[in-house]
C-alpha cells in the first residue's frame, strides 16, 4: 500500500509540474499576479467608494470627493485589460528569453488596434472603457499570447532590419524591432478589418460572446467550481500545492468574474456573478485550504503537548488564511484520519454559502479579496457585516465540528505515545541513577 501511494504521488507530481510549468498558462497567471498591486488599489477604492453609510455618502457627494474616490477604480480595474496585455506579453517573452519590454509594447499596440473607437457627434474620437475592463480581459489574454508568439517567431526567423557594425546597440535594438512591429501592426489591422465584416463588428464582441460568456457561465456553475476545489484539496492531501496547479488555469477566469462584479458594484448595478475567486477564498478556504481553523482551535486544548505547541504556533497564520504549518506539521498530508474533514468541510461550507446567496440571505460579493487579510474582515470587505458574521458564527463552528471526532482520536493516540515516551525516559533516568 505504501509503495503504491508513493508511485501515485510521483505520477501526480509529474502531471502537475507539466501543467504548472506550461509557459503559456504560467505567463497568464504570472502576468496577472504582477499587476496585482494596481488591482489592490482598485479594490481599496472600491470599498471607499461603495461604503453605504449615509452620512459618509452625503459627505462624499457634498464635497465633490465622490468623483475623486471613484477615479482610481475606473482607471485600475476599469482598464485591467490594458495592463494585463502588456504584463502577460512581457512575462511570456521573458520566459522564452526574448525582450519582454518590446513584446509587451507591441502586444499593447495590437490590443488597441483591434479595440473599437467611438466617434461622438461633435467629432471627438474616444477610446471608451467598454472593452478595457473585465470585458476585454479575454482578448487581452489572446492578443498577448498570439502577438508575442508571432513576435518571437519573426525574431527567430531573423526577419529584422540589420544594422552595420558600429551602430550603437540602442539604435540597433530599436531598428531590430521595427520590422516585426510593422508586420504585427498589419496583422492586427487585418484582424480588425476581418471582424468588421462580421455581425460582431470587432474581436471584443466576438470573444466576449463566444468565449468569455460561456466560460464565465461554466465558471459560475457550482458543479464545476466544486469539482476544481475537490481536486485541489485532494492534491493537497498528497502534499502538492493544489491551488497553484489547478488555479493557474481557473484563476484568470475567476478573476475576470470578480472584476465584472467590481465594475458593476462601482456603477451601482446588480452584480452579475455569484461565484469567482473571492467566493472561493472567502468560503471554501477562509482559513487556508481545508478550512482548518477548527482543527487549529481544537489543538489549543489538546491533551498532546505536540499538538498544543503546533496549535499556538499556527494560529496567527491560520487567522490570516495561511495554514501550511498545520498541513505539514500535523501532518494532514497523507493522513487518512483527516482526509474526510479536510476534503468535505470546504465543499459543505461553499455549498452552504452558495445556497444562502441564491435565497438572498448572503449578498453577492463585490469581488474584493486581498490575500492575508484575516477572515471576518475579509468577509466584511467583500460583502459587508453579514458575510463577516457568516464566516465567524457559522463557518468557524462548522469547521470545529467537522474536525472534532477525527482530531480527538488522533490526540488520544499522540497523548498515549507521549506519556509512554515520558515513562521510558523516567525509567531510563532511574536506571542511570541506580547504576551510579
Amino acid at each position: 500500500m505504501k509503495i503504491e501511494l508513493k508511485s501515485l504521488e510521483d505520477k501526480l507530481m509529474k502531471v502537475t509540474t507539466k501543467l504548472q510549468k506550461n509557459k503559456y498558462i504560467n505567463s497568464v497567471s504570472n502576468g496577472l499576479i504582477a499587476i496585482f498591486p494596481i488591482l489592490m488599489v482598485g479594490a481599496f477604492f472600491t470599498i471607499f467608494n461603495g461604503l453605504q453609510y449615509e452620512p459618509y455618502v452625503n459627505f462624499l457627494n457634498e464635497t465633490g470627493l465622490k468623483e475623486l474616490v471613484s477615479l482610481p477604480v475606473q482607471l485600475t480595474t476599469g482598464m485591467i485589460a490594458i495592463y494585463a496585455v502588456f504584463s502577460i506579453s512581457y512575462h511570456l517573452a521573458n520566459s522564452f528569453e526574448k525582450d519582454g519590454f518590446t513584446a509587451g509594447l507591441i502586444a499593447l499596440v495590437s490590443f488597441l488596434l483591434v479595440t473599437p473607437l467611438t466617434t461622438f457627434e461633435n467629432g471627438t474620437i474616444a477610446l471608451t472603457f467598454q472593452w478595457t475592463g473585465a470585458g476585454g480581459l479575454f482578448v487581452a489574454f489572446l492578443m498577448a499570447i498570439v502577438i508575442t508568439k508571432l513576435y518571437m517567431f519573426l525574431i527567430d526567423k531573423n526577419i529584422v532590419i540589420k544594422m552595420p557594425n558600429g551602430v550603437p546597440p540602442t539604435t540597433k535594438k530599436a531598428f531590430a524591432s521595427l520590422l516585426p512591429m510593422f508586420c504585427i501592426v498589419f496583422v492586427a489591422l487585418a484582424i480588425r478589418f476581418g471582424f468588421k465584416m462580421t455581425s460582431f463588428e470587432n474581436i471584443h464582441g466576438f470573444v466576449y460572446q463566444i468565449l468569455q460568456v460561456p466560460l464565465s457561465n461554466l465558471g459560475n456553475t457550482l458543479l464545476v467550481f466544486l469539482l476544481l476545489k475537490l481536486i485541489t484539496n485532494i492534491l493537497w492531501m498528497f502534499g502538492i500545492h493544489g491551488g497553484l496547479v489547478m488555479y493557474s488555469v481557473a484563476v484568470p477566469l475567476w478573476l475576470s468574474m470578480d472584476y465584472a462584479n467590481m465594475d458593476a458594484f462601482n456603477a451601482g448595478e446588480p452584480l452579475p456573478f455569484i461565484l469567482g475567486y473571492a467566493f472561493g477564498m472567502l468560503f471554501f478556504q477562509f482559513s487556508g485550504t481545508g478550512n482548518t481553523i477548527g482543527l487549529n482551535l481544537l489543538m489549543l486544548r489538546a491533551k498532546s503537548k505536540r499538538y498544543r505547541t503546533l496549535g499556538k504556533l499556527a494560529l496567527p497564520a491560520s487567522i490570516c488564511g495561511v495554514n501550511e504549518p498545520l498541513i505539514f506539521g500535523t501532518p494532514i498530508v497523507l493522513n487518512p484520519m483527516l482526509a474526510i474533514p479536510f476534503i468535505l468541510n470546504p465543499l459543505i461550507s461553499g455549498i452552504l454559502a452558495y445556497v444562502l446567496t441564491i435565497i438572498g440571505i448572503l449578498p453577492r460579493l463585490n469581488g474584493v479579496f486581498m490575500f492575508g487579510v484575516p477572515f471576518g474582515l475579509s468577509g466584511f470587505l467583500a460583502g459587508g457585516w453579514i458575510v463577516a458574521l457568516f464566516q465567524l458564527v457559522i463557518l468557524v463552528p462548522l469547521s470545529y465540528i467537522s474536525y472534532y471526532p477525527f482530531f480527538k482520536k488522533m490526540d488520544a493516540v499522540a497523548f498515549a505515545q507521549e506519556s509512554e515516551e515520558e515513562q521510558i525516559e523516567e525509567v531510563h533516568t532511574e536506571v542511570i541513577h541506580e547504576a551510579s
Binding site: L12, M13, K14, T16, T17, Q20, K21, N26, N30, I33, W236, G239, I240, H241, G243, L244, T309, L310, L313, A317, V322, E324, P325, L326, I327, F328, G329, T330, P331, V333, F371, G372
Partner: protein, 105 residues
C-alpha cells in the same frame, strides 16, 4: 562565511514565516546568514545571488525542474522536511543547510 539561502514556496507567504525562525536560530548559533523567501516563479531570476535553494514541501514537485534549470551553477536544491516546515523548526532546517553546503559548525 555567510550562508546565502533562498526559500521558495507558492506565494512566499508561509516560507517567510520560516525565514524569521531561521534568522533567530542563526543568531543563537552565531552564524552569518542571508535568507530570503520568494514565490517559486521568481527563483530563476535571483538564484545567482544564493548558495542553496530550499523548496517548501508544497512545491516539492518542482525540485527536479529546478535542479535541471540550475544544474551548471553548483547550487544544491533541497526540499524542506515536512515536519520541520510545519513546526517552523528554523534550527533544524539551518543545520541541514550547513550539512549540505559541506561546512561544520
Amino acid at each position: 562565511m555567510t550562508y546565502k539561502i533562498l526559500l521558495a514556496c507558492a506565494a512566499g507567504m508561509s516560507t517567510s514565516m520560516l525565514v524569521e525562525r531561521m534568522e533567530e536560530a542563526a543568531k543563537k548559533m552565531n552564524l552569518d546568514v542571508i535568507i530570503d523567501a520568494v514565490p517559486e516563479g521568481k527563483v530563476e531570476k535571483i538564484i545567482n545571488d544564493f548558495d542553496i535553494l530550499l523548496l517548501g514541501p508544497q512545491v516539492a514537485h518542482l525540485a527536479a525542474q529546478f535542479r535541471e534549470e540550475i544544474k551548471d551553477k553548483n547550487i544544491p536544491v533541497d526540499t524542506i522536511d515536512m515536519m520541520d516546515y510545519g513546526m517552523m523548526d528554523g534550527e533544524k532546517v539551518l543545520r541541514k543547510v550547513i550539512k549540505l553546503l559541506g561546512e561544520k559548525i
